[in-house]
């Protein structure tokens, strides 16, 4: 038995050591910078909280993440529903449609959107050609562009858990509800929706958490007009060498993510909604 334990410890030790050295210790060292500022232990957090600019950045991050989550869930619904009903070739085609973007780098996808959303780009010319607008619309370097790009990147994360929940719904329950005289709307609201709700909320939580920390897409599609918390953290390091502020911002971002994750884990059967297959 003792030998078994030693063997197990030897199996686990290399990766644990690796993660301690490359992940845990660097994070701890970074966060310690937030509390060792000359101004005092919590001075950096005071700077973040009192500045009008930083407060606006944090608000913007939340608003964009919330909007992206709502749009993503709305768009994910028909795809997940179709996936749960389709069979054979059409199912495979739709599934690959969802998985293909997953395979492609976020940077490449964001770059594609830059080409498409440009002032002189194909989307603006199409809209003008159709007479939807006279002037080219500002689709790039603002929150609109950021949201389009983020929804595109995050959609598969919402579709998969929602599809998993829809595929698990026992069709006989719907038949029973139908047979007992419930209308379509009643069956949806009282049988179908409650059954897929865990998948919906699991996916939404996932999307919201990922949105909060998004960096590449807002940095390229939003630019200086739509700064998010992650862009602020990066600029503290690269433009201002303000390590203690970067550390404080990072700690705030991580704590918010962890707190939301803890709440979600308590409220939702996440293991059923997100990872079940």
């Amino acid at each position: 038995m003792a030998r078994y334990r030693v063997e197990t410890a030897c199996l686990l030790a290399p990766a644990v050591l690796f993660l301690l050295l490359l992940f845990v210790v660097p994070l701890a060292r970074l966060f310690s910078l937030a509390f060792t500022d000359e101004g005092g232990v919590f001075a950096t957090f005071g700077v973040l909280a009192e500045s009008e600019v930083y407060r606006r950045v944090m608000l913007n991050t939340f608003v964009v993440a919330l909007a992206v989550t709502l749009i993503t869930v709305l768009l994910a619904w028909p795809v997940a529903y179709a996936l749960s009903r389709l069979k054979g070739f059409w199912f495979a085609l739709a599934l690959y449609g969802v998985l293909f973007p997953f395979w492609i780098s976020v940077l490449v996808r964001t770059f594609s959107w830059m080409i498409l959303l440009e002032r002189n780009g194909p989307i603006n010319r199409l809209l003008q050609g159709l007479g939807v607008t006279d002037q080219p619309l500002a689709l790039l370097f603002n929150d609109t562009g950021v949201m389009i790009g983020m929804v595109h990147v995050l959609l598969p994360y919402a579709i998969m858990p929602l599809y998993a929940a829809m595929a698990r719904v026992d069709r006989r329950l719907l038949l029973a509800s139908d047979g007992l005289g419930a209308g379509l709307l009643d069956t949806f609201a009282r049988v179908y929706f409650p059954l897929v709700l865990p998948g919906l909320l699991g996916g939404a939580t996932f999307v919201f958490l990922l949105s909060l920390g998004f960096f590449i897409t807002p940095a390229l599609l939003g630019g200086a007009n739509a700064i998010t918390l992650s862009m602020l953290i990066a600029s503290f390091v690269t433009d201002r060498l303000a390590w203690s502020l970067a550390a404080a911002g990072s700690l705030v971002l991580l704590l918010v993510v962890l707190a939301l994750l803890a709440v979600a884990a308590r409220l939702l059967p996440l293991d059923k909604g997100m990872f079940a297959r």
């Binding site: 199996l11 690796f18 992940f23 994070l27 768009l75 973007p101 770059f111 971002l253």
Partner: protein, 272 residues
């Protein structure tokens, strides 16, 4: 089977088709952009040419970025695959509190926002002189890829029955022989999946790389990232097309391999 009115079916499938088009079509936009003859990006191109592909492979900066990316991804894949496989096997041998604690640690790089990880790793890499090196990039990407290997191999390990391991050990095989002859053949699909995920995770990674790359060792995504903000010529689209091709090649190959293997297993079954 279930009563589903026609209008609902049309609405759902039509909506799904539109959303799927929104998911897939924009990615394809870089393809026409990359064969644009003009020196600026314009869609659809007025004249076609492959000159920017030539420019990409003649430019030493793009070439060295591609080669740096491949080296970094190779280091990351090997390190993550070895560490991840060994710890997935270890994780299966423990239960209870330690199991959840260590699983949490192994998956943590996936949960912490990557900008936070990037800044933290960059700061420590500066202090130990690993910033701006291929090794530093490879190791930090291995850390980001580790969760994917632990998950993939962990799932594959479920197919390995503990009794087989005991039987092999009872027949006198040492731990290494047991691993090589019983565990390894059964977890190969998980290993392939983990390796592909690791390679792509590293090859596509931008955020950590932007901080860590420094001047001399830019990876392909870092070079793209910088070029988007500076020159914005179709050569960036060429680089993007190459990244798409590599990802499709690796994932497609892994899928074909997985399918080939399951066919192999099925054809083997009657004999057993």
């Amino acid at each position: 089977m279930t009563r589903q009115p026609l209008w609902l079916s049309i609405l759902a499938h039509g909506g799904a088709g539109l959303v799927l088009a929104f998911l897939v079509l924009p990615i394809v936009a870089v393809l026409p952009a990359s064969v644009n003859k003009a020196s600026f990006i314009f869609l659809p191109p007025r004249a076609y040419s492959t000159r920017w592909y030539g420019e990409f492979f003649l430019d030493s900066e793009w070439r060295s970025a591609l080669s740096t990316s491949l080296q970094v991804a190779l280091i990351a894949t090997v390190v993550a695959l070895v560490l991840g496989t060994v710890s997935a096997i270890g994780l299966r041998r423990i239960r209870g509190r330690w199991h959840s604690l260590l699983t949490g640690l192994f998956l943590a790089p996936m949960i912490v926002p990557v900008i936070v990880t990037a800044v933290a790793v960059y700061r420590s890499a500066l202090d130990v002189g690993l910033a701006g090196t291929v090794l530093g990039l490879g190791l930090s990407h291995a850390m980001l890829a580790l969760p994917f290997v632990v998950i993939n191999v962990g799932i594959a390990l479920r197919t390995v029955d503990d009794n087989w391991l005991r039987a092999a050990a009872g027949l006198g095989a040492g731990p290494w022989t047991v691993f090589r002859t019983v565990t390894l053949p059964n977890i190969t699909p998980g290993l392939v999946g983990g390796a592909v995920f690791s390679f792509i995770t590293s090859f596509d990674e931008v955020v950590v790389a932007v901080f860590m790359a420094g001047y001399a060792n830019k990876t392909l995504p870092v070079k793209i990232w910088e070029s988007i903000r500076l020159e914005y010529t179709p050569v960036v689209a060429v680089a993007a097309v190459l990244m798409i091709l590599l990802a499709m090649l690796l994932f497609g190959g892994a899928q074909a391999l997985g399918r080939g293997q399951s066919i192999l297993k099925k054809s083997e079954q009657p004999q057993a």
